[in-house]
């Protein structure tokens, strides 16, 4: 469903990963691993279409993708259900009650976004995935500030999504207890000397 060929991505004028190659098919989960700063977030943002690839190709239908980054985009003045209903309308997908139920937000439905704890905000942010109706979930550290119950619950939700034929690509260090292939980004890492590409680093002094 998503195929990446010879991809090179970078951030702030610095190439981070080169010759990235992988494929994820329906029902498959990929876990991105690697030390801080290796380029997990940059890779996910590139897959989501937020930043252009330096070179290479990402073969995917952008209509399939939904992205969840570090920030949940929750409006403090809107209630939980208003926040979620907005995203459901944006993605043109059905009712929100099922998603509220699955993420354990039913009791909080009328609480304003500003009064949520960090973990509750995260759950609301992740509930957006369920109302998007999209098949490929790109998750950047999805379990940050979730307690162990919520983490387990989220693991179940991912499992259900995979069973429905979805794809999950997540950067996480937490074991969600799901069969998935681990992609170690370290092997594509661009090291010091190798990061030409900058037109101002051509040979010969000037």
């Amino acid at each position: 469903m998503i195929t990446v060929r010879n991809l090179c991505v970078g951030r702030g004028g610095v190439a981070l990963l080169r010759s990235v190659e992988f494929t994820a098919d329906s029902g498959q989960m990929l876990v991105l691993r690697g030390p801080n700063g290796v380029g997990k977030t940059t890779l996910l943002r590139s897959l989501a279409g937020l930043q252009p690839a330096w070179e290479g190709e990402i073969a995917v239908d952008p209509e399939d993708i939904v992205y969840a980054g570090h920030q949940d985009g929750i409006k403090a003045q809107l209630s939980v259900s208003e926040n979620l209903r907005f995203w459901a309308e944006v993605f043109g997908f059905g009712p929100i009650d099922a998603a509220l139920e699955r993420f354990g937000l039913m009791a909080l439905a009328d609480r304003p976004g500003g009064a949520l704890s960090a973990g509750q905000k995260r759950r609301l942010g992740l509930a957006r995935l369920a109302v998007s109706g999209r098949r490929i979930w790109l998750l950047d550290e999805p379990t940050v500030s979730l307690d162990s119950d919520s983490t387990a619950r989220f693991g179940d939700i991912i499992r259900a999504h995979l069973k429905d034929g979805g794809v999950v690509i997540a950067a996480t260090h937490i074991d969600l207890g799901i069969e998935g292939s681990v992609l170690d980004l370290g092997r594509w890492r661009v090291t010091g000397e190798d990061q030409s590409g900058d037109p101002f680093l051509t040979e010969g002094a000037f």
Binding site: G49, L50, Q51, G69, Q71, K75, E82, W87, V90, S132
Partner: protein
């Protein structure tokens, strides 16, 4: 797009949304100027349309950075950029929401404030009409400026500097329309030009602003 429009209006109306900010500023300008220039009826009625146009423009300027900045900070903008709404439609929806919550109330308040300026009878019609036609352009041009500066920490001053020269044609034609209308002179030329600026802004600037937004989000 409709969902975004409704959400933005709702956010603006809720507490802390800054709905009254522009109105309050407009009111303050209109009340303070007569104190500064003196209570001369003729002078006030001559400068009235111009002062109220400048007041409306500054009131609009004051709230521009809210168009994208808050959504940028809490991550909504990046999430919206990966949603089915194209960036251009997003700009259109947000500029429209800004106009409905900032420009339109100014239009409604303007005939009341015209009283303070000893306005000629024509001003009660043509000042609101000129603002009604001109303020959409102010919102859209402002949205372009806000999109340019959205990634910057303290972009407020820069935003004003960038938008100021872009506002000049709208201000000239808008104030001219109000002044001519107040004096009972022919209004057709500024009326058509002002309408043209507003329509052209809404037709063309979403593309520039959308491009700029995508650059700022990457």
């Amino acid at each position: 797009m409709k969902a975004l429009l409704i959400r933005d209006i709702r956010l603006a109306m809720r507490a802390g949304g800054g709905f009254g900010l522009a109105l309050g500023f407009f009111l303050i300008v209109a009340v303070l100027v007569p104190f500064a220039v003196g209570p001369h009826g003729d002078l006030l009625s001559a400068i009235g349309p111009g002062v109220l146009w400048v007041g409306a423009m500054l009131a609009c300027l004051l709230s521009l950075d809210r168009i994208f900045q808050l959504d940028f900070e809490d991550g909504s903008l990046a999430l919206l950029a990966t949603s089915p709404i194209p960036a251009e439609a997003m700009v259109m929806a947000k500029a429209t929401a800004h106009w409905l919550t900032t420009g339109l109330p100014l239009v409604a308040l303007s005939p009341v404030l015209a009283v303070f300026f000893n306005a000629a009878p024509g001003a009660y019609l043509w000042l609101p009409v000129s603002l009604l036609i001109g303020t959409p352009a102010l919102s859209m041009i402002g949205a372009f400026g806000a999109a340019l500066t959205v990634g910057l920490k303290r972009g407020g001053l820069l935003l004003s500097l960038l938008v100021l020269p872009l506002y000049v044609p709208t201000l000239i034609f808008g104030a001219e329309l109000a002044r001519r209308g107040a004096e009972g002179a022919a209004v057709q030329t500024p009326l058509l030009l002002l309408t043209g600026i507003s329509l052209a802004s809404f037709a063309a600037l979403p593309f520039a602003a959308g491009l700029v937004l995508r650059v700022n989000l990457r």
